[in-house]
Every structure is written in structure tokens, then in C-alpha cells.
Symmetry: D2
Subunit: 363 residues, 4 copies
């Protein structure tokens, strides 16, 4: 079992919600890359909780502390390690959970796998808090990619049954930036308003909502990836399912393609400004596991936050009998909007790894 | 770039559509496992083309030849290599394709990546024919799993807009066998009839259809997998996107969970016959990347076969100008129904790999 | 490029000599394993410098700080991260080195690979100081192994031309402990006295000495490892060459076997107390990449410390012309005796990884 | 357990001595590389047995059959699979071995690990015959390397106590070719004559001899590899220990460095023809796990062939009592001279993998 992904660039995440610190090691980063800390902190802020009634009140101080890998703000070729200290390590709220696994959480499976040794408090190693170090890695990757004309951005495509518009055929870097700058990352603010209302309604009902995040990467060269098991989709999917609560991933038209016809779904080739493009992009920028040079698009399904305040049916592990569980404290009634930068982060990290391998199969 | 997946059990596929042979190497198979060749051949027959008007007329002789790894029909601990000889290696039909990439195929991306060296004829290393060696690996894995009470089965959940019923909460091994025995692998034969009509209609229109395959694995112990990037979903997705034409994967409720609420989507725990179960299975048998012991369920979106006989817009690579392409020959108007055993094969292989690691995190 | 080794148990090291901290992430540790901190610190003390005239005066405070992976002193299944803060981060002594690569050091190759981005000060990521986090990992692995009757120990087999005795055919845990407890880790103290004199003489001459470390592991089950590229020797060698200054590794009789005959080198099998043993152990406990159950023995060649105070010939990178270099400051005139616990650490970590895979090829 | 090595270029070997065929899969080969079959067969001939009284009389037809990966003699980017059919698959000679493990062979450890399932006949997956597919991979790698000015060659440095001269400081491609062309691959033919006499004497005594192979690679760029666990030495050692009978590996001065002083062992830097070189090469072309641009040199210790005709002490596995074993048939009295091209092959394959990653740490 591994908390790591990547080939030439390996990213390894560590930490539990209530340990001393959480962090990330990036091994294989190219040297000589400046890391703009202000820009990185601004990126980290996008996933931070406690900013509105839409998310948990818990305060995090997510300023990363760099232990290695940077010299005067520039990567030096050695593994980069950055940590975030946990200011709030007490765990009294979680005592009841040790015996009553929360439905939809990993409490039960962690108990099966690790028994009494498992740190269930606050989700242990499964905690959404571990997406913070992922964002450190991804924020750095995004800066390195942007320097090469590759831009990664995402938006909240839906919450419950409320839907945002989809990205246009050619999202621009400006559009991606504009969405990122919004407090609620949607393309159409009216859709965003409806989503926020739905989230608040779910909170008032002691319930929660799922959502979908759409992510795009523009400026990628064609030729990245490969066929079979090491393609762009394989590698992105393998990493993206590491984001807590993700239950589905699709590229381009995805599941909609399964309802379509070949004549409608095939993307015709054309020549534009001396380059070969496709005039539609149902492939999501990937054919045969290899980038086409068109925007890479993917969509991720996030399940509703399992922590709800409504009473739930569970079992007592010690007595092996039914038990009712009421989860106390404040919890995010929806995680999908805060997951938007996390999706960008993981996508950017995988794409940087692919770029390091290059896009040609000869040498 | 790699044509391999797996951790303790590595599966590596080789071959091009028009080379001498295609094959598979399985490294890390447990020793002492009998391989029932009749059962394996019956499994391979399920994906074989040419059986009806629904699929291409091309004949394949898919009887595998075992070069290593078996002693008297039993695995011996050494890597197993099995090949299937290509009887039909001529490639004249594909000459036009060298200059005009087929929309929806990997011709263009292969040309970018490997230039003139790429074997585009018949799809090269991207060919659906490579799913045959995958089925050899998966057929062997299925036999080893079945001996331990783990059964993997799949059905065609939809073709275009025609839908089969979903698997019940607890699919039995008998149900999985019954679907596998059908010429058209659906749960409800009436739905199957509609699907077949839709496929034939697409063929007559010179078009093609996509579809969805649902797969289930029953009898898995709880505790397999792990959090973050090496979980059951990560590893299955990484391998499943290696099946040609897959554009999406979801586990349990998947994208439907994103439209749901926590109170509806959370699976309540209960005690049944001394074991902890959930009374619904929106999680698809996986929480926090670890199996719960409930049936593992997943759905895969297959895009419509890109080879259609309708004229299509493409470009001439040599002249960098628009070109029309008409693909000749007979091609599958839908690949999803033939992909059903392939999905079982890849799923079974990954699950065997996970089982070899065991389900406990202590030792 | 990777600062990591291991399969089921991945160990990743980070830090530069003059960064904020150095550390290690262990991913895949079994859960429920107590870590005795006093015992761990005692182990770390064995490699610490500044204890005598034989090593550099630089003070290190090597007490590890655990950021994750432990709950109440017991492993919890999540990745364990431990760091050691660098108290002494100034780097003024190293300014000259930026232009004049030290012979025998990685200054030149780091400059080629990473250019001006490379952190050359104090050896950067190549620093012997990174063996401290390796010892944290190995010290924990040793505790877990000892609980299962597997003991790993090493001694200084030679310094320059002065040689210690070799381990007996069956080193006991007591013998391994006794050597570990010595200030100078040799089997024969008279040989140790000669070695120390040789080291002091080298220091007085402004020179340095190499040495050989012999390591043994007793109590291993037979059946660990496998043939070809994933055998016990392959995996140990791959990790052991990660220790700075190692230029050779041999198992059992090693290079002496190359001068021997089959009749002398083959280890006859015999039955002792109901178990199959060999009556000699030229194989070093490994046949065909798989453990025999006899003690595993290996020897590592350490080159002389490249930092010597004698003037040396080098070049000025900026002017591409010859230059003389005098390395100032105090440096270890021999590294081999301090490397003894490091060799134990890496060996123990690899063996724990192998044990996690088990020793049988069926399941 | 894995029969594979490599990162971007993965090489996987399969086959047992008495199966239908043995073979190799190379995944990640660059496309567009011509494979000169005549040259490849000439290379394979160098390891073939039966050429003289010095080796076994068993005939092998080692002409490789390419199943995939080549188009008109040029690599196409898809995995290359080549097999060699086993003409001689009967195994009657090996019946006694099933109960009496041969000292020095993997019979015992294979029995422990795989029990009755293990194919012990002729060494199973441990057989020296599997070095033939390794030579196919290495022969192809050597051709690709030579096209880029990198030449890999080896010679027999010693047999028993008879020693050849060492490679000069700068072996030329011509020198490497000249040694390769010899029936007995030594630098000094007089030394070779003594070695051959020693081998014949060992055969007459029913015994066998070990030996050492020295390998060099010239023309490598500086900057390949990296520090810690993914360095050039780590990766070469991990693969080289996959060659049967290897018990030690050293780079540059290796174990001799351990008996030396820093002032003697450090390689001074100098400028020659505008390039930075070292005036000696005790480092074997590697500093800090990274190539210096000087010739890479390594030495491998091969133990004496364990198959000797003298009676040996073993045990009966079924009766758990002492037994005498006399191995019949003809066996190589020394394997080291036939291992020379195998060492070149594995070294070349690893170096090609490293070259594919490039020699710079930025991008």
C-alpha cells in the first residue's frame, strides 16, 4: 500500500489529521525552478476551510514550511519536503467513533485492516486534510507548467442536481484564472448561487450533497503518454482516485460517449494555423492514451460528504449489535467546491510527470 | 510508457495486430494453481469476434500457446507466457491510413509520438486484438479467485440509450455464471433484444454505438487495498483504462452519488449472520480505498467504435490539408458487448494482485 | 531519479546537509508495532559523529521528531515521517567549493546535472548526513525484526590493510549485540586497536582510509526473495549502494568464491534438529536469489573519505583551468566505522520489506 | 517477485530450461531503431555453449524469433517480444534431483518456496539458459548505444587464481571489439591460455572454477543517474545480480579502494581538449551515483559452477536424511567466460534505460 504516485516525479504524502504535521515529499522535481511562495499560498487558500458558512469552521494554518529541496526559493534537484503543522491535535470529539464506524467513512475498513492500531480520529490517514499537502505539490507543479505554457484549471460542474455550464471547446488561461479567482468556482455565477443555496439547504436539513468537478489543461503538447496501461488516462485516474470521496472519473465525453454514436462522437481532424486539431473534443484531448494537443478535459464525481448530523444506523464493533450514531461538530455539507483546487493540483502533478518523460517515443 | 500493470502480480501484454503473435507475460503468479484449459478457452470464446452479425467477420484462432510457467497444467512459480499466433498478417487494407488518421483512433497520436516507425496498420499496439492476451491473464486469474470463493462477472449495462437492469445488491456466483453463458450478456433478455436491434440499426446506417459495462466481484474479503494512491479504485482504474475505448469508470453509485445526498448515499452498517455488512451498497464495496466485504461494483463507459463506414473528415499528414476518409472493410458497430469478458479479465487480475498482498496491515 | 527504495515498504529520504531538516518517510510499515524510542536513540547514537578523535567534531542533535505514523508510540498503518532538525545551517565554509569540485565528491557530477541549482554546500543531497534518517528507518525495522527472531548486526571487517576476524558460521544475537555495544565495532579488539591507530595516522598525514563492513542477519526464514531481478541480492545491493562511499558489495564468499572451486565453494546440505542446513555458508544464506535459512552475510567496500587536508588537483569550473584545492575544516579520516550501523539499518529495512512479502510462492 | 528490470525501458524475461520457449519482452524501446539481425546473432553466438571442450556439449539453436515490436527490422514503439524455441525439452536426467537438492543450486530454495510445483529440472526459472533472452535485449541495446557513440565491452578478468590484465584507463571501441572477437575473451592471450588450462584441469578433476568479469562502457555522457537509491551503481547492481552465479559487484577500484587512502584513491580533475576529465579513474566513472563522463568500469564475481561430477553431500527431502549425490551429464566447468557477453548485455540495457532519462536534472 502506498501513499505515493508518479514515475519520474514521485509525490508522497504523509500525516494524519491529528498528528504533529502533515506533509509531502516531491522526488524528481526538475532543478532550477523558482517557487513563488505568495502564489503558492494563494493557491492553498482556495481549498482552505472556514471561509464561509459553506464549509467547516475549523481553522487551518496552511502555510507550508519547506524542510528541503529549495535553495533561495529555487528547486535544487534534491527531494523537496514541505510540511504543515497541525495546530489542533486534540481528538476528544472522536472517542465515540472508535466503536461506532461512521457510514460512508473509512472507519470500518481501517478497523478491519489495522485493528486497534488504526488512527480513526478525524479520519486518520484518510482525512481530507491530506489534500493540503497535495495542493502544495500541485501548486508547485502548476507554476512549473505555466512557465511552459501549460495551464490547468477547474470549476464546480455541479452540486446535487444544480449544474454549471461546461468549459468551452478552447478554455483560455484567462478563463481558468478568472474561475480560480472566484470565491465560488463556477463559470456561471447564477448557477453558483443556486448551488450555494442547495448546500445551505442541505446543511439546515442535517444532510450533505455531492458534486462534480470539471478540470481542463490547455497548452499540452501532443504525444504525451502511451497506449495500454501507462496512458494519460490510466495515470491521471490512478492519482485522482486518491482524492477522498471521488467515486468516478471520465475523460472528454466520458459516460455521455457511451450513449452516443461514432459519427457524433468521433472528433474530425482539421488544419488550423499549420497545426492539426480536432473540430470537436469528445476525446478530451486523449486518443489511445496519448495527448492530441487539444485541451485535456476530465470530470470527477464526488460523493456527498458522509459526515451528516442526521442520526444514522451503524453497529457497535465491540458488541456486534446495531447502534445509532449522531455525528457532532460542524462538517462540510459539501466538499466538491473545496475540492476544485485539489483536482487541479493532482492533475497538474501528473501532467508535469508526463512532461518530464517527453512526448516522443524515439531518442 | 508501459504495457504492464500490477504490483506483486505483474501482467505485461505485447503484440501488434499484424505481427507474428500477440501474448502476455504474468510474473508473480502463485505456484501450484491448476489452469483448466477448456474453461479458459470457453472464457476466451466470449470475446472472440465473428460469431454473429453484431461483430466483425474477421476470424481469430485464439487458442493460447503456453511457452512457460506451466508444468503439467499447473503454475510452477516461473513467469507464465502465453501467445496467440496471428494467422492473418497482411495489411494491405490499411495503406491509406498511413496518411489519413482515422478520427477517434490513435493513428494521429501514434504518428506524433513514433513518426514513421509507428505501426498504424490495424491499430498497431492500440488494437482491440490485444484484449485477447488480457483475457488469457484474466481467465487464469478468475480460476484462481473462484477456488477461493471470489467470483467476478459482468454484463452489458447499456448500448446507446438502451439499458439493461443493474446487478442486484447481492449478485450470486450463479447469476454471474448465467449471464456469462448468454450469447448476448445482459440480465434482461428483452433489453438485450433492444440493444441488438440498436446495434444492427447502427450498422445499417454506417455508424456505431457506445455502451456501458457493469462488473461485480463477490466473495472478496474486507480489508484489501489501502488509502490514498494505492487503493482498490486507483489500481482498478489504472488498469481498466488500458482497455481500448474506455472513457470513464465509476465505482458503486459513481456519478449518481454526485447528484445524491449524504443521508441517501451513506450505506448503513448492520450485523448479518455474525458479520458486519451494509444494507445498501452505494460505495460499491470500497470505503477509503479498502474493500468492505460487500460486492465490489464498477461501471465502465465505452465510446462508440470509431471505425464507421460513413465518410469522415480528416487530414492528409503529408500534405497538411483536409481530406475525406472512408473506412472500408467490416468493423464492429459496437464493441461494448465483446468487452464484457475483457472487463471481467482486467478486474479479476487486479483483484488477484490485491489478494496476494493480503487484507491486513499488520504482520 | 529517486531517493526511495522498497516494494511493500517504501522508504524515502529527504534533506540536504544545510537545509532546515532531514528526514525519512516509511510507507507500508505494518501497524501495531511499538517503537522503543530509547532503543532507537541508542541505535542512532552509534553513527553519530563527534564522539572521539576518530571522527569529525561537528555536533549533531539526532533526536528524531515524529510527525506522523505513530499513535502512542505504536505504528498505526499510516506513513511514518520522522525528521531531524539541522541546528547548523550556515554554509560559509563551502563557498570555495562552488567553483572547485572536490576530487572524489559528487560536486562535479551535481554541477553537470543540476548546474547552478545544485546545492553543493556540504555535499547537498549526497551528504553522509542523510544516513541519519536511514538509521531511523533501519532502527525501527530492526525492532520489528527482532520481535520475530530476526537479528541484524555488523562489524568493521577492515580499515585500510588492517583486518578484523570474520563472523563465525552462526553468529548469535548475543554476539551481534556485543559488537554493537562497543565504541569501536570489531570482533577482535586488538584488530580494532590497530585500525584506530591506522586512522589516527592517516589523519595526522592529512589523509584518509577506506574500509570494509561485514553484516549478518540471523533467524531469517528460508524462501524469501526470488530468482532473476527481484532476488535478495538484487534488492539489498540496490539499496546498499545508496549509502555514500560504497563501491562494492559481495554476498557470502563473494569475490573469494571467484578464486575457488565448486567442490570447495558448494555448501553441503545436512539435517540438524529436523531442519535442513548447510555445513558451510559460502552462499551467504542465498541460493538463486532466495534465502536458505542460513545466516545472510554480506560485505561492503567503503572508499576512503574523499575529504582530505592534503592539497589536491582540481579545476576551476568558471575558468576551465587547473586549480589547487585545500579542503579546510575537520573531516572524518575514515567513514567505515561510523557506517556500521548504517549498513545494519539498510539491510534490516530491505529484509523487513522482503518478510512482508512472505516466503512462499503459493497462496 | 519479478523477472523484470528497468524504469522507462522495462525488460522482462520468461521461460524455463525445459519449457517450449524462452524469451524476453522489452517495453519502452525507442522507436525507429534498426535491429541488425546478423550482428545480433553474432552477439548471441558469443554466449552459446557447445563450442569447445570448455563448455557443455548441449546444442542450442539460439536464433531469436521476433513476435512483436519490429516493423521491417525497425523498432516501432510497441513492446518487442523475441523468443527462442527449446528444441530439447525432455527432462529425464533430472528426476533424481527432485528429491536431492544439488549443493550450490537453487533446488532447495525453490522447493521451500514453491514446493512440488517448482520446476527443478535443469534449474527451472533459475537456469543459465535464461541469459540467452537477456542477450537478445542487450544485443539490441548495444546497437542503439553504439549509434550514439556509447560502447560496452567486457573481458574475463580472472579464472580461479589466473588473472588477465585490467582494462586501460581509456579502453577504445576498437579494443572492446577486438576482445569480443576472440574465442576466449581476454586482453592477454597468454593469460587466457593459462585460464583455459585451469578450466580443463578442473574438468578432469570433476570440479569447477569461478571467475571475474570486468566490463567497461565508454562514450557515456556525464550526468546520468542520481544520488541515493536510483544511482547508476544501484541500478546496475540490481540488474547484474540477476545473472546466475554472480556473488559480488564492484565499481572502479571497488574493494581495492577499501584498502587504499584518500590521496591515492581520489581522482584528480583536469581539463583535456576543453572537457573536464579525471587523470585516474578509481571511481569507475561514477561519483555520487552519477556518471562523470569517464569510462564506467565494473567487475563481477562469478562463483564456480555448482554442477560438478565429484560426489557431494546433500539430503533426501522426502526422507529428511543425508544422501550422496552424483551429478551426471556434461556441465560447464566454468561459466565465467560464457558470461562475458551476458554482462555486456545487462550493462548495456541498464545504460540505455538511463540514457532514455537523460543526463540533466532540469527541463
Amino acid at each position: 500500500m502506498s501513499s505515493e504516485f508518479g514515475h519520474l516525479l514521485k509525490v508522497s504524502v504523509f500525516g494524519q489529521s491529528h498528528g504533529k504535521a502533515i506533509g509531502v515529499v516531491m522526488d524528481g522535481l526538475p532543478a532550477g525552478e523558482a517557487v513563488d511562495l505568495a502564489q503558492l499560498n494563494a493557491f492553498l487558500d482556495r481549498r482552505r476551510p472556514g471561509k464561509s458558512a459553506l464549509s467547516t469552521a475549523r481553522r487551518e494554518a496552511d502555510a507550508p514550511l519547506f524542510l528541503s529541496g529549495l535553495e533561495n526559493g529555487v528547486t535544487c534537484g534534491a527531494p523537496l519536503c514541505a510540511i504543515i503543522e497541525n495546530s489542533d491535535q486534540h481528538s476528544s470529539d472522536y472517542r465515540e467513533l472508535a466503536d461506532k464506524p461512521r457510514p460512508g467513512h473509512a472507519d470500518f475498513t481501517a478497523w478491519v485492516k489495522w485493528g486497534g492500531s488504526a488512527d480513526m480520529r478525524g479520519g486518520g490517514h484518510f482525512s481530507g486534510r491530506l489534500t493540503a499537502p497535495l495542493c502544495i505539490a500541485g501548486g508547485i507543479a502548476k507554476q512549473i507548467l505555466a512557465r511552459r505554457g501549460v495551464f490547468v484549471g477547474a470549476h464546480l460542474a455541479s452540486v446535487g442536481t444544480e449544474e454549471d455550464a461546461a468549459f468551452p471547446l478552447h478554455p483560455t488561461a484567462e478563463l481558468l484564472d478568472a474561475v480560480a479567482a472566484k470565491a465560488f468556482p463556477v463559470l456561471e455565477d447564477e448557477a453558483g448561487a443556486r448551488m450555494q443555496q442547495a448546500i445551505l439547504a442541505a446543511r439546515q436539513a442535517g444532510d450533505s450533497l455531492g458534486g462534480v468537478v470539471e478540470c481542463a489543461a490547455v497548452g499540452l503538447p501532443s504525444g504525451l503518454g502511451g497506449p495500454m496501461f501507462d496512458g494519460v488516462e490510466n495515470r491521471l485516474a490512478a492519482a485522482l482516485f486518491g482524492i477522498p470521496a471521488v467515486k468516478g472519473v471520465e475523460f472528454g465525453a466520458g459516460f455521455a460517449a457511451a450513449r452516443s454514436t461514432g459519427s457524433a462522437n468521433n472528433d474530425p481532424f482539421a488544419v488550423r494555423d499549420g497545426a492539426i486539431v480536432t473540430t470537436s473534443n469528445h476525446a478530451g484531448g486523449i486518443l489511445g492514451g496519448i495527448t492530441t494537443g487539444m485541451p485535456l478535459t476530465l470530470r470527477l464525481a464526488f460523493k456527498p460528504t458522509p459526515s451528516i448530523s442526521k442520526p444514522q444506523q451503524t453497529v457497535s464493533l465491540s458488541r456486534m449489535e446495531p447502534a445509532e450514531l449522531v455525528i457532532r461538530g460542524r462538517h462540510d455539507p459539501c466538499i466538491a467546491h473545496r475540492a476544485v483546487p485539489v483536482v487541479e493540483a493532482v492533475t497538474a502533478t501528473v501532467l508535469l510527470d508526463l512532461l518530464l518523460e517527453g512526448n516522443h517515443g524515439n531518442f
